[in-house]
Amino acid sequence: MAYRGSKIDPKKMGKDQVKILLLILPLVIFMALPIVYIINHAFKPMDELFAFPPTFFVRRPTLDNFTNLIKVSRNSGIPLSRYIFNSFVITLVTIGLSLVFTTLAAFSLSKLKYRGRNMLMQINQIAIMFVATAVSIPRYLIIAKLGLVDSYLAHILPLLSVPVALFLVKQFVDQVPQVLIEAAYIDGASDFHIYRKLIIPMIKPAIATAAILVFQQVWTNMETSNFYINDDSMKSLTFYMNSLTNANNTVAGQGIAAAATLIMFIPNLVLFILLQKNVMNTMAHSGIK
């Protein structure tokens, strides 16, 4: 019999689909294990945390670890709410500003013609590969020179330009048909008007994806709190949570660390579930093509 060609995006589970699912199931389980473990670990009471042999699933879930976490942070002088506030402000401002900056630049680099445009894109392309650690020293010098040490700006400014996000968004703007823009010009629209009313609505999926990218960079960033911030009350929640997981070798420390890890993980998960449909569908339809 002739080969039929495979079915992408089948409508229902057939024999073939079950085969594929069984094939990848071990890997999926492996990928899920640490996450499942984190969720279970965070709710374990003390005796289960140190049980031998170690248990994977929680048997008698409790909120002890979370209350301990709050207790520890009460004693540390700086309330937990301060770190939450810091991270909240930093993340929100960074995502907002960087999306505006990135979409503006992407529109300019994709649709407006001017001298040096290609060179700018080239430089950005090279910068995608840039590794933050590689320039953390000169970055520190610049932040110190600008007098940004111990300020919110030190958290925000260095993360505003995310070359990968620009690359991604520009690929999408490239997809917006030139005819539409020409038509808008003839109707008398200004460049900004076109950006605002034409480009932005058409690249919403790219914006969702870029938002996830930027969020991850900001949320998981510890470099800033490590190097550019000396004042403890200005550090981020991520840094604080991480210092909890590192500094507490005490018995209660393990449970607190597990609770902290779960807390840090949840915003990621929520954001992804909210934007997931956008990311997958848009990449496919108006996608990077």
Partner: protein, 311 residues
């Protein structure tokens, strides 16, 4: 050749803004460009300059020409013996291996109906959300050196080993562990874009290909799937390269810096070691420049393979 009249017409027409030098372009790119310049471009240039100096972060740097590079290439035994080989192994396995794994997984997933596909992709994507770093606490418990470690306890109950293995201090296992964690957390946005790319390939192409004599799935993937999702492959490849060189933090968090016997020391860790522990900033900068060049080399490869020619 355009006639003169046509040129004048173009200049006067509103649409001409698309063709000629549009000053607004600079204005739109300015905010991004400014931040980019100050926090990415200038630091890179400064790093290159610093790499030719001796700088301890306190005194003014003194110019030493190529001394740092010469030392790096001829005298830094740790770099040549451990750091460079580790980095190459790590980036090949996590970068290239991760990329291939991501494609295979994306291909398998796209052959599933919507609901199981979405659930599976969420699970596979979830580790990358945490960037590995936040997960250190879990890995520590899993690879814990005594019998309360999950892995030790499992292996012992299965009778594979008799004594607990001290995973995180053992020079033998450290690099593989860091690589596994790297792979585990490497299915990120690039992986999602691959799923989207495969789902988006034109279904009629598959039917046409079957008629034209494509005989199996493998041929189909090579001749249809991959060529029609090149932009997504390119994006994913770029993300893989970036990932492969940025995960140094995992080994530091697991075992400290430097890692025992330099077993899992990557270039990123080497830079931190010299820059922030020994304060030999000039030397650290030289290592950074070598790293930048290395990443460029890799990314050129991705460029060759997947960048579309018509751009």
């Amino acid at each position: 050749m355009k006639s003169r009249g046509e040129k004048i017409l173009k200049r006067k027409s509103k649409v001409g803004r698309l063709e000629r030098n549009n000053k607004n372009g600079y204005l739109f790119v300015l905010p991004y460009g400014l931040v980019f310049g100050v926090f990415i471009l200038i630091p890179v240039i400064l790093a290159v300059i610093l790499s030719f100096t001796n700088f301890n972060a306190i005194e003014w740097p003194s110019w030493v020409n190529f001394l740092n590079y010469i030392t790096l290439l001829t005298r830094d035994e740790v770099f040549m013996q451990f750091v460079l080989p580790n980095t190459v192994v790590y980036s090949v396995v996590v970068g290239i291996g991760g990329f291939i794994l991501a494609f295979l997984l994306a291909y398998a997933l796209s052959n599933l109906p919507k609901i199981p596909r979405t659930i599976c992709s969420l699970i596979i994507y979830s580790p990358s959300m945490t960037s590995g770093v936040a997960m250190t606490v879990i890995w520590r418990v899993i690879f814990s050196g005594d019998q309360t470690g999950i892995l030790n306890s499992w292996l012992m109950s299965l009778g594979i080993i008799n004594e607990p293995i001290i995973w995180l201090i053992s020079e033998e296992y450290l690099l593989p562990i860091v690589i596994i964690i790297g792979l585990w957390s490497s299915m990120g946005v690039g992986f999602l874009s691959m799923i989207a790319g495969i789902l988006n390939t034109n279904q009629e192409l598959y039917e046409a290909a079957a008629i034209d004599g494509v005989k199996n799935r493998f041929q189909e993937v090579i001749y249809i799937t991959i060529p029609s999702m090149k932009p997504q492959m390119y994006f994913a490849a770029v993300m893989s390269v970036v990932n492969a060189f940025q995960n140094g933090a995992v080994s530091t968090l697991l075992t400290g810096n430097p890692s025992p016997g330099y077993a899992a020391q990557l270039i990123v860790n080497h830079i931190e070691d010299y820059g922030f522990l020994r304060y030999e900033m000039g030397y650290a900068a030289a290592v950074s420049v070598v790293l930048l060049l290395l990443v460029q080399l890799f990314s050129k490869g991705a460029d060759r393979l997947f960048a579309s020619k018509d751009e």
